[in-house]
Amino acid sequence: MNLWTRPQMAARVAADIPEGWYVNLGIGIPTLVADHVEASREVIFHSENGVLGMGPAPAEGEVDPWLINAGKQYVTLREGGAYVHHADSFAMIRGGHIDLCVLGAFEVAENGDIANWATSENDTAPAVGGAMDLAAGAKRLWVVMEHTTKDGRSKLARRCSYPLTAVGAVKRVFTNMAVLDILADGFHVVEMAEGLTREALMAATDAALHF
């Protein structure tokens, strides 16, 4: 059994993105997705801080300190890219113009709820950033995350236990074990890591799975 690595998970997400989509990638594994889309295949990446048509990290010595992404990393702008201000940038998100948003998460529920911004109801100083806007506003929300927490608890759940980011928003989940669609009746397994058994996947998942 070979669970997928983080780069493999990112590559798997990238494989599902058609040319021409406008895509916003969250911090963490989602950010890696861009590395797996060849520049010749035109996918247009958006960053909340007003960058549309974001390119890869700059070559060493070519960093422009004025050009960062929402994760505060230095990036570049592709030919055809544009800069906008924050309200216009979020108009793209909230107005349903972003074809796809890929986020990490603490939990995803079988009804599409996502929890990815606070780990308890009494989190001291929670920080939401643009997650709620993205989750509620993008045309499609996909999540890429480890299937379980470090101590083995399933991150796929019947209902989220952490504070929600958005209700019923997630359409597809990519984990290190499987790719799952969320339909009206819950998680549907689209693909599994090579050698993983249905039983093992079920054992690792705290929700019903449809195969």
Partner: protein, 224 residues
């Protein structure tokens, strides 16, 4: 490769359905997508709701579309002008529904549609007959009325420069409603005076990023 440039007007107009709400850019004669309007007349969609600042003049363009009986309803701020003969005939004959919206509210309602805002409170129109039937509430000590987002199934836009990603710039006061409507159309179709290579537009000066644009047709026009 993304290429939003279409080669024919038929391609530009493909799929515009009867009953569509059509957002029509321009203010006065500046920035009107005349070629797209001709294309729409040719294309045949009917029972349309047209959103435009004015209600057409003479007997061409929007006026012709209305004269052909293809417009059920017009939403505008200023329908009446010296040449708006077709509008006035149809309106007087009861063959055209009219919704008058203050010009700024009209722009803001489409901006709201483009930005995912469902509705908003504005002081414009409070206490006037255009506020009749609208929810009123006091915010920050001021009476305001609720206005809702105005989406288009289609937006017809005139731009100055366009590239294959659909990035647009406009020319002077030709920007007007065009840049707002581009964000509010589910299908935004652009006629552009100039098609320029990707990367030739200054990323600091692109007014409508391509994310809001579906199709671009090159219409060089007589003014250049």
């Amino acid at each position: 490769m993304i290429d939003k440039i279409v080669r024919s007007m038929a391609e530009a107009m493909a799929g515009i359905a009867d009953g569509s709400t059509v957002l029509l850019g321009g203010f006065g004669s500046v920035g009107q997508p005349d070629a797209l309007l001709d294309g729409l007349i040719e294309q045949g969609a009917k029972d349309l709701v047209v959103v435009a600042n004015n209600a057409g003049t003479g007997r061409t363009g929007l006026a012709l579309l209305m004269e052909l009986g293809r417009v059920r309803r017009i939403i505008c701020s200023y329908p009446r002008s010296s040449g708006s003969v077709v509008f006035e005939e149809l309106y007087r004959a009861g063959r055209l529904e009219l919704e008058i919206v203050p010009q700024g509210t009209l722009a803001e309602r489409m901006r709201a549609a483009g930005a995912g805002v469902g509705g908003f409170y504005t002081p414009t129109g409070v206490g006037t007959k255009l506020a009749e039937g609208k929810e009123v509430r006091e915010i920050d000590g001021r009476m305001m009325i609720l206005e809702t987002a105005l989406h288009g199934d289609v937006a017809l836009v005139e731009a100055w420069n366009a590239d294959r990603w659909g990035n647009l710039t406009y020319n002077k006061s030709g920007r007007n409603f065009n840049a707002v409507m581009a964000t509010a159309g589910r299908m935004t179709i652009v006629q552009a005076y100039h098609i320029v290579p990707l990367g030739s537009l200054d990323p600091e000066a692109i007014v409508t990023p391509g994310i809001f644009v579906n199709r671009v047709i090159h219409v060089p026009g007589v003014t250049a």
